[in-house]
């Protein structure tokens, strides 16, 4: 899950929420029950900053989570969204590193980050009214409907919970969050795809090394000619920004035969792209260019028209 946090550049921890329908052992209550009642949204913010809690029904200073989190059935009128039937005995929250198999994962995000998640999940439907927000819209709704929801919080969260104006919460069932994490993981290994990371923040030593081999720096790749063939070099970074893979891209006009199963071949209109990926294991040294031309020549040698 941490890869999602890194990918989005999140300021806060992801918060795991576990709805417990069994009694919690006393020693765990002694350790994790809050000292004073607060609003659920306040506790979520504190969990996002690293604390863990176990709540019972009496631990909330706001009445909404008692019903929305399923501690108690409503008495006078039905309230939605809420966890029903109301069998909750305790709720455990904390950073996802501390909560095993949470039911719901909460992420405090800004709109751009929600947009990025929506792209990865092929869209998110948001249902919100600005009331009972973190407990109902952010936690109960994903729990009951088993799909993510975005809440723009409520007045209580904004005033008492300490949320900034640009902060909103994405509540996600665990399974959906795992899918999101897998997609981010796949994205980090797109060395075979021809979309390189921007070259603007690459070390000048690497740039000089590649230039020394005859490659020009472009926006997201380096371009050069080897044996009179056009060659592009993509430097693919991992989530922490380190160069993780090198991709050699040889575009060839027309159909080609490739005599090396390790090379990826794809067609693009009249062009055939032959792609070779290389981990940063020392076989190619970017600073000196050692091994690079040899690797490119190997690719060229395996391609015949």
């Amino acid at each position: 899950m941490e890869n999602v946090r890194q990918y989005l550049g999140m300021k806060y921890n992801l918060v795991g929420v576990k709805i417990l329908t069994e009694d919690v052992p006393q020693d765990e209550l002694d350790e994790l029950r809050p000292d004073v009642p607060k609003q659920y949204c306040q506790f979520v913010k504190e969990a996002a900053l690293g604390k863990s809690f176990v709540f019972l029904e009496d631990d909330f200073s706001c009445p909404s989570p008692v019903v929305t989190l399923g501690f108690s059935e409503p008495v006078y009128i039905d309230i939605q969204p809420r966890i029903s039937p109301a069998k909750t005995k305790a709720v455990k929250i904390g950073p996802t590193s501390e909560i095993k198999d949470p039911d719901v994962v909460l992420a405090i995000l800004n709109p751009k980050q929600v947009m990025e998640v929506a792209i990865l999940l092929d869209g998110i439907e948001a249902k919100f009214v600005g009331s009972m927000a973190v407990c109902g819209e952010g936690t109960a709704r994903p729990y009951m409907e088993n799909k993510p929801n975005v809440t723009f919080l409520c007045g209580g969260a904004r005033i008492y919970g300490g949320y900034k104006d640009a902060e909103i919460i994405l509540g996600t069932p665990l399974e959906t969050f795992k899918k999101l994490s897998a997609k981010v993981e796949a994205l980090s290994k797109t060395c075979g795809a021809l979309c390189g990371c921007l070259t603007s923040d690459i070390s000048p030593y690497v740039i000089e090394g590649l230039q020394g081999q005859g490659f020009e720096k472009r926006t997201d790749y380096f371009f050069g000619k080897v044996d009179d063939k056009n060659v592009r070099i993509y430097l693919n970074k991992d989530l922490s920004g380190r160069i993780d893979f090198i991709t050699i891209h040889l575009p060839v006009k027309g159909e080609v035969k490739v005599d090396d199963p390790s090379l990826v071949v794809s067609t693009r209109g009249k062009w055939t792209d032959v792609i070779s990926t290389h981990p940063m294991d020392g076989s190619i040294e970017l600073e000196t260019g050692k091994g690079l031309i040899e690797a490119i020549k190997h690719v060229i040698s395996k391609v015949s028209i």
Partner: protein, 83 residues
């Protein structure tokens, strides 16, 4: 039943509904007590206002919850409290 004061907070949502109600009830309690009629149109407030009164030091008493069209009226008794 004689209504002492009316608090019309249609258009407000929680938590404002129960925050405004508790402020008004406290005023009423410290000025001789009485019955407050709270008018709301945010349904969850019917649950949240009574629940929010449970932890208060002053013993407020919920007398009635009535649905009237698209609004709800809560009658709450505030005892007289001396400063």
């Amino acid at each position: 039943m004689e209504i002492t004061e009316v608090l019309d907070i249609k258009g407000e949502v929680c938590p404002n509904t129960f925050v405004y109600t508790k402020i008004k009830l406290e005023d009423l309690a410290y000025s001789g007590g009485g019955i407050l009629k709270v008018i709301i149109d945010h349904p969850p407030a019917c649950e949240n206002i009574p629940r929010s009164l449970k932890g208060e030091k002053i013993n407020y008493e919920l007398l009635e919850v009535n649905k009237i069209g698209n609004t709800y009226e809560l009658l709450i008794k505030a005892p007289s409290v001396e400063d």
